[in-house]
């Protein structure tokens, strides 16, 4: 409606002004002038018709909108006229903006999104040393004595088996105080959460389900409340279901799918068993510092009252959010910085491109300004054109990001909390929009200001550019390219360092051979496996059964899988030595294995022998240790034959019958600790063991065979975490792989963009100097000389960029130290290699325009403008 109205007003205004002119002419003619004289005079007196129209139109209001519409249409027309430029610019921007959007979606999900609780900034954790769990008696005292918290609650992880009509399943459940949901401030979506007192004996067999669990086991039926589930063989009544986006705990026990009350009645005075993690909500007006001070005071008092158990314990009150994201923040920010650099290079490229574009239009712009358009009006129009490009680039980038989003979310390691929920939500879209606008202004402002700040007369002359202005222009473009080369050097160095670090990391010998080994964990629970003998018998029978399957080379089992499972340590005493003080008692990683374990895993038995079926409860106690333990306890001596007593086994002495090579235990990057292996039939039989099977067939078949065999013995047992050992190993370096892949990708993109940038500038330089080249050629220079001249110029630019980049890299790269493994941030090999790669690409990029320069026909060039 507005548009039609404006057109009508425009036409009317035209008619009105024309009428004015007509009457003026008529009056002059009446006064005696000839029609031609009258017209010329009247027109002169009238003035600039277009300008009058425009100033008049301004009185109508809404000018900016009309002008914006004009600019937009003009911008689109310009794009259509130069589709090559537009395509390249939009593509470059799409790459830059898209990559940033993708990474930002991860950063948003992991670092920025608030936790799914009420007022999450007031939630804190209260733990020893900031991470160690707390004993029940201490927790209860804290609850009673502290006044900084509105509410405080504890949680404990319970891994159990879910049995019932469907297949048995391994489940992670959190046992929490009845007030936990009050601390979190979240209500159930269906039914209710715990009421006060439900953590007391007799009332604690209730359970609250997560949304996912409810969907999976109850099909999302609203009749779930009131039904019963069998947890570890005991019936629990469902009282509520949580909303879909609720998750607790956000760290440590992130896969918990149900919550039951925590009954501490039998552990009220247990001050030793540190198994609880404590969460609390600060009272309004209480600061973190105040809470910390109060807890320290309470902790000190408790240490005085109970010196034996609490001595040396510290307490720390930390924001919950920090606990969740603290560890992931550095890596993600570095990745965000890297992708920001890529965008910088992309912008520099587009700025270069648009500068050459605007140089061609200088005459047009000068004419417009001479005709009366304000300088700012023209600048605004040029900026609108840039914005059109950048918004188009942003939209394309968004498309790119949405395609890569699923890949990114699934590639993200489990160590990144909430990474699976990374999506292009409202904040990400807003970010993309803001970034596109910013980018458009960034690369559009300088050229716009520059090309309108002209000496009008110079520009209107027939020569397309004055020499001095051309030189200034050239300087800016050279500066841009130097910046590009510098930034890509920084990125490439970062990428190179990460890749070298990752290669070093993954080439470490884990101490075993993961190829061809499949693993599966079988947890035992319920009355059928209440005694050591029952459990031992089960695993014995299972491993024998599995050993007879076709394609199976050997089978064994271990209580905790290296790299994939837990790391428990236990103290021990070396016989024949005086007992060291408590604090210096040696401890080793505690492993319980079935016979043939080392052969199955491909580990190396350096000395002695492996366990056999004969090492059982009736035979003498034996133990196998790793090199680290042997080195530490018996340096320079023969370890075989020495005797050890393991804590908790009374006076049972064990003879060292074997020494094995060190094996990676918990984390890939840490050094192996002293480790001891006990034979399965001679140790307290674990409730859960991980089977390891070395096969000569495809592992997918063996997985189902494993399950079959387990269920043949007992169909109520879950078989969880079936994975090949190679997958387990890969997962343990998942975080590093993620970081390396991303930074490496960005470095590669940066290299390509920088090469394109160099090519662009050199092309333009050659075009600029066509006249000069023609003169040189005419005066007798050979093609080779011209080639050399161009290449030298390009090289000079590149080397300047390298020098700047080197300085920046040396300064910035130390920030990456936390991500690198045994690679120094100033590794000369990497720097040298990257500099060489960049120089080579730059040379290649220069070569084409240089060759073009030699093909210049002197006669044509001399006549060139």
């Amino acid at each position: 409606m507005r548009h039609g109205g404006w057109r009508r007003r425009d036409e009317e205004l035209e008619e009105e002004l024309r009428g004015h002119l007509r009457m003026a002419v008529r009056e002059r003619v009446e006064r005696g002038e000839t029609p031609e004289e009258a017209e010329a005079a009247a027109l002169r007196e009238f003035g600039n018709v277009g300008l009058v129209k425009e100033v008049t139109r301004e009185m109508w209001g809404w000018v900016w909108l009309r002008q914006f519409g004009q600019d937009l249409r003009y911008g689109l027309r310009m794009m259509r006229r130069g589709p090559g430029f537009a395509a390249v610019a939009v593509l470059t921007l799409a790459l830059g903006i898209g990559a940033n959007t993708a990474i930002f979606s991860v950063v948003n999900a992991v670092l920025l999104r608030p936790l799914p609780y009420r007022d999450p900034a007031r939630l804190v954790t209260v733990l020893h040393d900031g991470w160690k769990p707390v004993a029940p008696a201490n927790f209860l005292d804290w609850r009673e004595q502290s006044s900084s918290f509105e509410s405080i609650a504890a949680a404990q992880l319970w891994s159990l088996t879910l049995t019932g009509r469907e297949r048995p399943e391994q489940l992670e459940v959190l046992q929490t105080s009845a007030e936990m949901f009050r601390v979190l401030g979240v209500d159930a979506a269906l039914g209710r959460t715990f009421v006060a007192g439900e953590d007391q004996p007799g009332r604690e067999h209730v359970v609250v389900l997560s949304h996912g669990f409810w969907q999976r086991r109850f099909g999302g039926g609203t009749d779930a409340v009131g039904r019963q589930v069998m947890l570890d063989g005991e019936p629990y009544t469902v009282v509520g279901v949580m909303p879909p986006d609720f998750q607790f705990a956000p760290f440590w026990a992130t896969h918990a799918e149900a919550w039951v009350p925590l009954n501490l009645s039998r552990r009220v005075s247990d001050r030793r068993g540190q198994s609880l993690r404590v969460f609390a909500r600060l009272k309004p007006g209480v600061t973190l510092g105040q809470a910390q001070a109060e807890m320290e005071k309470i902790n000190r008092q408790l240490a005085e009252q109970h010196p034996r158990e609490n001595e040396g314990l510290t307490v720390s009150v930390d924001p919950l959010h920090e606990k969740v994201v603290g560890k992931s923040r550095p890596a993600l920010l570095i990745i965000l910085g890297a992708v920001g650099f890529v965008l910088l290079i992309a912008c520099a490229n587009v700025a270069n491109l648009s500068m050459s574009k605007s140089a061609l239009r200088r005459r047009e712009l000068a004419v417009r300004i001479a005709l009366g358009a304000g300088r700012w009006r023209v600048v605004r129009q040029l900026l609108t054109e840039s914005l059109v490009l950048s918004l188009a680039g942003g939209a394309a980038g968004l498309l790119l990001a949405s395609w890569s989003n699923t890949a990114l979310a699934s590639l993200g390691p489990d160590t990144l909390p909430r990474v699976r929920t990374a999506s292009l939500d409202a904040s990400v879209l807003l970010f993309t929009l803001g970034l596109s606008v910013f980018v458009g202004l960034l690369f559009g402002l300088a050229p716009a200001l520059h090309s309108t700040k002209t000496d009008l007369i110079e520009s209107l002359k027939s020569r397309a550019q004055g020499a001095s202005r051309g030189r200034r222009h050239e300087r800016v473009r050279q500066l841009l390219v130097v910046v590009e080369v510098a930034v890509s050097l920084v990125l490439l160095v970062g990428g190179g360092l990460m890749m070298r670090s990752f290669l070093r990391l993954t080439s470490i010998d884990p101490g075993f051979d993961p190829r061809g080994v499949t693993t599966a964990t079988v947890p035992l629970s319920g009355p059928r496996y209440a005694t050591d003998e029952q459990r031992a018998a089960f695993f014995q029978r299972l491993t024998t059964q599995l050993g007879s399957l076709p394609g199976v080379k050997s089978v064994s089992a271990i209580n905790h899988l290296p790299l994939g499972g837990d790391v428990w340590t236990l103290g021990f005493t070396v016989e024949g030595r005086p007992a060291p003080p408590d604090a210096e008692r040696p401890a080793a990683v505690y492993r319980v294995v079935r016979p043939d374990y080392f052969r199955t895993m491909g580990g190396a038995l350096l000395q002695g022998r492996d366990f056999t079926e004969r090492d059982d409860a009736t035979s003498p106690g034996v133990i196998v240790v790793n090199e680290a333990l042997a080195r530490r306890q018996w340096p320079g001596e023969e370890p075989l034959g020495k005797r050890i007593t393991v804590n908790g086994e009374g006076s049972k002495s064990r003879e060292v019958i074997g020494v094995v090579k060190d094996v990676k235990q918990g984390e890939w990057a840490s050094e192996p600790q002293p480790e001891m292996y006990l034979p399965h039939l001679q140790a307290a039989s674990p409730r859960s063991m991980t089977l390891v099977v070395r096969t000569s067939v495809d592992s997918s078949e063996i997985g189902s065979a494993l399950r079959r065999e387990v269920w043949a013995i007992d169909s109520d047992l879950p078989v969880s975490r079936v994975a090949s050992m190679e997958e387990v190993v890969a997962e343990s370096v998942g975080q590093q792989r993620f970081n390396t892949l991303l930074i490496g990708l960005f470095a590669g993109v940066a290299l390509i963009l920088a090469a394109v940038g160099v090519y662009g500038v050199m092309s333009h330089a050659v075009a600029q100097r066509t006249h000069e080249i023609g003169v040189r050629l005419a005066l007798g220079a050979r093609g080779r000389d011209v080639l050399g001249m161009i290449i030298r110029q390009g090289l000079a630019l590149t080397l300047t960029g390298l020098a700047v980049g080197l300085a920046v890299a040396l300064a910035l790269v130390r920030v990456m130290n936390s991500l690198l493994y045994k690679v120094s941030a100033t590794d000369p090999l990497i720097y040298g290699g990257v500099a060489a790669a960049l120089t080579l690409s730059a040379l290649l990029a220069c070569y084409i325009p240089a060759r073009r320069a030699t093909k210049v026909d002197p006669m044509v060039a001399l006549r060139h403008d």
């Binding site: 009317e12 205004l13 008619e15 009105e16 002004l17 009428g19 004015h20 007509r22 009457m23 003026a24 008529r26 009056e27 007196e45 009238f46 003035g47 600039n48 300008l51 009058v52 100033v55 008049t56 301004e58 009185m59 109508w60 209001g61 300004i369 001479a370 009366g372 358009a373 304000g374 300088r375 009008l456």
Partner: protein
């Protein structure tokens, strides 16, 4: 570029005064743009020449402020002309602007000739 600023300056400085002149001209009857500019020129003894770059913006602004109204008429020569007319609001505005202008010019005259003031009885 110089031309644009000239127009703008003109309008800003004389805006109030130009409005006054236009409204005053229209008091004597509806008139089209060309006629208004001729009238102002004539009535000021050829001293004031309003150029189109000031006149038409002023007219359209006055119309937006509802002090004048416009309509398209057919002139004697069978041509369409846009004719402006003073509104009731415009009349009131004219009256108040006139008195303000007279106060202003009196004050300026007095300020320029202080001795004459003292000399008066």
């Amino acid at each position: 570029m110089p031309k644009a600023t000239r127009y703008r300056n003109r309008i800003e400085l004389l805006q109030g005064t130009l409005d006054l002149l236009i409204l005053q001209t229209l008091q004597w009857g509806a008139q089209h743009g060309y006629g208004i500019s001729q009238a102002i020129s004539t009535n000021s003894g050829e001293v004031l020449r309003v150029d189109t770059g000031s006149l038409y913006p002023a007219l359209h602004r006055l119309e937006r402020q509802a002090w004048v109204s416009s309509e398209w008429k057919v002139s004697e020569n069978n041509q369409r002309v846009k004719v402006y007319r003073l509104t009731a609001e415009g009349k009131k505005h004219l009256a108040s602007e006139r008195s303000r202008w007279e106060q202003l010019s009196e004050a300026i005259a007095r300020a320029l000739n202080p001795r004459a003031e003292e000399g008066e009885a």
